[in-house]
């Protein structure tokens, strides 16, 4: 079994003002020639249910304020299928989970791995919790927040 090739892209409007929402688009593209099933946990594909991003302001870590969730075993619904060449995406608003109230340049970085990626439908959900964590690299994005 080869490691599936997944391409990850983050995007955000590079400028915002204090108090405005900051929406981050997360896109995951399957660059292999077979379908994959991606566990949505700890990715923006399910919203912000944990530390999906690391956020810094002018290089300083901004503490995460959203929920941290202990999960029961995943169901098939916890996965998202991606056909060869297809892209899945979701937009999340991040200012409720990280404090963007101070002006500065915020850098948003996705985690460096997906918790589980399956290449066979029968592995969805993964039996026995034997997840296959799969590295993925999204280039970080910057948003400059100006005072009102």
């Amino acid at each position: 079994m080869t490691t599936p090739k997944l391409e990850c892209v983050l995007s955000v409007h590079s400028k915002a003002r204090v108090g405005e929402s900051v929406e981050v688009l997360f896109k995951l593209t399957n660059r292999s020639d077979a379908p994959v099933w991606v566990l949505k946990w700890q990715t923006p594909l399910e919203g912000i249910m944990g530390t999906v991003f690391q956020v810094t302001r002018d290089g300083e870590e901004v503490p995460y304020q959203g929920p941290m969730v202990k999960r029961a075993a995943p169901s098939a619904d916890s996965y998202m299928a991606i056909a060869p060449g297809a892209t899945v995406e979701n937009t999340v608003e991040v200012t409720q989970a990280w404090d963007f109230k101070k002006p500065g340049t915020y850098r948003i970085t996705f985690r460096d791995a997906l918790m589980d990626v399956a290449t066979r439908k029968e592995d969805v959900p993964r039996p026995g919790g034997d997840y296959k964590s799969t590295p993925v690299t999204c280039a970080p994005v910057d948003v400059t927040v100006a005072a009102r």
């Binding site: 503490p63 029961a72 995943p74 608003e93």
Partner: protein, 361 residues
């Protein structure tokens, strides 16, 4: 997308705006049935109107007010469906006072996933929505008196703050679930209390789990207070041994056991998500929300209620500040092998170390 997450909502507006209102309502005449209604007040794009079914409510009656929101602007206005009246508005956007004194909100606090378009309701210019809002399940109505009730919405994206007219209702005092919770608090651990409408059997189960979590964290600390070495128990969950690494985990469990011993822990039962054991907001100690999977779990052992409380306690920034890098025993063991520094920062790894099931030397 995921159906399983639909019910899982993000906390917002934890404290419902309870402001001191003037207790201007005169006690109504006995048997009066005229709807208590006043003129609506427009403020920004939406206006709100509250009306009561009748002016006087006996202790046996459920108290409900009718709330109507109208878009008085010339553009569409979107708001979250849980801010709108009708089905789903359980966490009142009500401000309730009795004889000039603010009345405490005692109902559940809901956790909202923000920013999802499917949660938005759009009102066209001139359009109204209305529906009932239950007062008696959510506010402390234990004292007989004249209650003043107003609907309020804080300012948020796209919607300006608004406040409705005020209705006055004469309400006969009744027992509320809060009193039961207070009574229960006195007979359980002094440091443990409940929110989010935990039933008495749930409170009892939580108290048992809390006590077991204290034992788990005390035992884990005692173990780590022994001579440090690359024990099976340590390396299975936290990977590469060093005295520094051991000391990090010992510090974590010292904080966890101290928090269980003396912090004012609140366990909230308002989450029913079956795919979730529990969650916390790491910057909001020491409130732990338990969900559907918590109730299916055993009190002790792997992924137990007691272990879940240890997991959640470890997340608080002021305790051990752990994150979630891997879920489940299998993934946690793999994490210990592949990335020990993340294992030391992983909540489930702490839980499994504390549960120690099966027991490792």
């Amino acid at each position: 997308m995921s159906k399983s997450l639909r019910g899982f909502k993000w906390l917002m507006g934890t404290v419902v705006g309870v402001s001191l209102l003037s207790g201007c309502g005169a006690p109504p005449a006995e048997g009066e049935s005229t709807p208590a209604e006043a003129t609506e007040q427009a403020q920004g794009a939406l206006s709100a109107r509250v009306s009561g079914p009748k002016a006087s409510m006996a202790a046996s009656e459920r108290v409900t007010v009718e709330v109507t929101l109208t878009n008085t602007s010339s553009a569409p206005v979107s708001l979250y469906k849980w801010d709108a009246p009708g089905e789903g508005l359980n966490e009142g956007r009500l401000s309730v006072s009795r004889d000039g004194q603010a009345v405490e909100y005692t109902g559940a606090h809901f956790k909202r996933v923000l920013g999802r378009s499917e949660d938005l309701i759009t009102l066209a210019p001139g359009q109204s929505i209305s529906g009932p809002v239950v007062v008696s399940d959510a506010y402390d109505l234990s004292v007989t008196g004249t209650y003043s009730i107003r609907y309020e919405l804080e300012q948020r994206e796209g919607v300006t703050a608004l406040s409705s007219n005020e209705v006055s209702l004469f309400i006969e005092g009744r027992r509320n679930s809060r009193e039961d919770a207070e009574a229960m608090r006195q007979v359980t651990a002094q440091s443990l209390s409940y929110s989010g409408a935990c039933t008495s059997s749930e409170q009892s189960a939580i108290a048992t789990a809390f006590s077991s979590a204290q034992t788990y964290s005390n035992n884990a600390y005692s173990y780590l207070n022994g001579t440090p070495s690359a024990t099976t128990r340590y390396t299975t969950w936290f990977g590469t041994y060093s005295s520094t690494n051991w000391s990090t985990i010992k510090t974590h469990f010292n904080s966890i056991k101290n928090a269980f011993a003396s912090a004012a822990v609140v366990v909230d039962c308002s989450c029913n998500e079956s795919g979730t054991y529990a969650y916390v907001y790491p910057g909001s100690p020491y409130k732990i929300y338990v969900c559907g999977a918590f109730w299916s779990a055993p009190n002790t052992g792997t992924d137990s209620r007691a272990g879940t409380l240890v997991h959640e306690m470890s997340h608080f920034t002021v305790v051990a500040g752990t994150d979630d890098w891997a879920y489940g025993q299998s993934a946690a063991k793999n994490l210990a092998k592949s990335n020990a520094s993340r294992a030391r920062d992983n909540a489930d790894s702490h839980e499994y170390f504390a549960e120690n099931t099966p027991s490792l030397p």
